[in-house]
């Protein structure tokens, strides 16, 4: 009995570690996608696009393991919450990978031209680094199950929302001179970063639920 439960605990720990690993993959992906879009780096954009498949495969592998554990161990209480939230977190992380992939695709589409005009480089740089920062913090929240830090992630998201609003403000100025196509690219880019951070917030909220059994208000 003890041995079986200890195997079960190892399986739960392994799922948690895999989610942290997936978070690192997603964070690296967004960091590289941001570099690719700011530097019009086609090779790096290609790497990010190719890496998305690995993220998807890893998510499928984690989900299969979770379903197997649920089927064999019939978890309840905090174990059940851990596994159900892990399923949803893996889905959030997979979407974050998709959003990095979308950023890289804009870089590839506009290559060799820059996708980001000079006056918005700082804004996109800030959005990219804020997105990576929030993802890394989310990885720590998954590892430590620190509920205070989980709620902090939600506040960190405000920074990206503010940058998003700034970006849209520039795009709708009458003085905008880079044409409709660039404006659409940047509208989409802003949306990708903003949604990416929202998924990180969602993961942190799930950790809060996992620990407390209550939904973060």
């Amino acid at each position: 009995m003890a041995l079986i439960r200890s195997v079960f605990q190892d399986e739960l720990d392994s799922v948690s570690q895999s989610l942290v690993d997936l978070t690192s993959m997603v964070s690296a992906s967004m960091e590289q996608a941001t570099t690719a879009i700011l530097n019009s780096d086609l090779n790096l954009a290609q790497e990010v696009i190719a890496a998305d498949e690995k993220i998807d495969d890893f998510q499928h592998e984690i989900d299969a393991r979770i379903i197997d554990i649920i089927a064999r161990q019939q978890p309840v209480a905090s174990d059940l919450r851990a596994l159900v939230t892990a399923l949803r977190m893996s889905s959030d992380l997979e979407r974050m990978g998709d959003l990095s992939h979308h950023v890289a695709k804009i870089a590839r589409l506009r290559h060799p031209d820059p996708a980001v005009p000079t006056e918005l480089i700082q804004t996109i740089t800030s959005m990219g680094s804020a997105a990576v920062k929030i993802t890394n913090k989310t990885g720590i929240v998954i590892t430590t199950r620190d509920t205070d830090m989980a709620l902090e992630v939600e506040r960190d998201d405000d920074e990206i929302d503010n940058l998003h609003r700034q970006l849209i403000g520039v795009l709708i100025e009458p003085t905008w001179k880079h044409g409709i196509e660039t404006a659409i690219d940047l509208t989409l880019l802003g949306r990708y970063y903003e949604r990416y951070a929202d998924h990180a917030v969602s993961i942190s909220r799930r950790v809060y639920f996992l620990v407390t059994g209550k939904f973060a208000s």
Binding site: R5, Q74, P75, V76, A77, S78, R81
Partner: protein, 292 residues
């Protein structure tokens, strides 16, 4: 019945306030069945039990709303079976056994002096771990045996027989062989026959002590369906070691534990709460299989 604990009983009675399952549900903001429409239900106040000097159970106060199913879970030896056996006065069959506290059915203490114990056991039926039909009696005789023993006259025995077997989920399987011996049925059918037998005397409360532990999954499922149907018309308390069974069939779950001393009730809550977010870490560790 040993009465050497009378003083202790008096002492217990002064402070006991039963845990009302309805108030527990309200505290958890969970909707569960269990109105008082079927009667005033069953209540235990400060129940203690002893086997000789061994104090087996301490201070169990619970208020079971009529029409609910309550599962009692906990490791072996924590007093679950002892507790339900105090409810219909089966505990006193054991030499040297004693109890303190009150068991109130419709507000009346089943241990009050002058109480007809046979009558109590008609009102509070019991189904045991191992199916125990009378093997040489026919299926029909088994179902009606309680009436015969209690000398109760039924107006239409055929109707009663069909009704009880129907409610126990066995009618369609045995209606063409009511004259066959009880012992000729499968284990699962025998257990449902025992349930039908318990139903024939129209109990208000049905106590079930691990009723499915000797049955295969299919028979277990049929008994569980029977429990859910019966709970429309009676109060059911089921002792089970099967966590999934407790989760499936009960409205409330109470967790019992002995830390070397007498068994105690650690936590009682709506079943959905016990299996999703128990409040006490000992409950959490037990339901997740980390001990016991």
């Amino acid at each position: 019945m040993t009465t050497s604990h009378e003083n202790e009983k008096e002492k217990m009675e002064t402070h006991v306030k039963p845990t009302s399952l309805a108030s527990v549900a309200q505290a958890h903001n969970v909707k569960v069945p269990g109105t008082r429409a079927l009667g005033t239900g069953l209540e235990t106040r400060g129940v203690h039990a002893w086997f000789g000097k061994h104090h087996a159970l301490a201070d169990i106060s619970l208020d079971f709303a009529a029409g609910t199913v309550t599962a009692l879970i906990g490791p072996s030896g924590c007093g679950k079976s002892t507790y339900i056996r105090t409810i219909n006065r089966m505990h006193e069959f054991i030499p040297g056994a004693a109890m303190a506290g009150e068991v109130l059915l419709d507000g009346k203490d089943v241990y009050a002096p002058g109480t007809d114990v046979t009558k109590i056991r008609l009102q509070i039926g019991m189904v045991f771990q191992k199916p125990n039909p009378f093997p040489s009696m026919t299926i029909g005789e088994n179902v009606l045996s309680g009436l015969k023993l209690a000398q109760i006259k039924a107006e239409n025995k055929d109707d009663l027989l069909e009704e009880c077997l129907e409610r126990a989920g066995l009618w369609s399987e045995v209606k063409d062989r009511l004259g066959a011996h009880g012992g000729s049925l499968s284990g699962g059918q025998q257990q449902r026959l025992c349930i039908a037998r318990a139903l024939a005397v129209r109990p208000q409360v049905l106590l079930m002590d691990e009723p499915c532990s000797a049955l295969d999954p299919g028979s277990t499922l049929r008994i569980e369906e029977t429990i859910r149907h019966l709970s429309d018309s009676m109060t059911i308390i089921i002792v089970t070691h099967n966590m999934q069974q407790a989760a499936r069939v009960s409205d409330y779950t109470a967790f019992f534990l002995s830390d070397g001393g007498p068994g105690q009730m650690i936590e009682v809550a709506p079943t959905s709460e016990i299996f999703s977010r128990p409040q006490d870490p000992r409950t959490e560790n037990y339901v997740t299989g980390r001990f016991g």
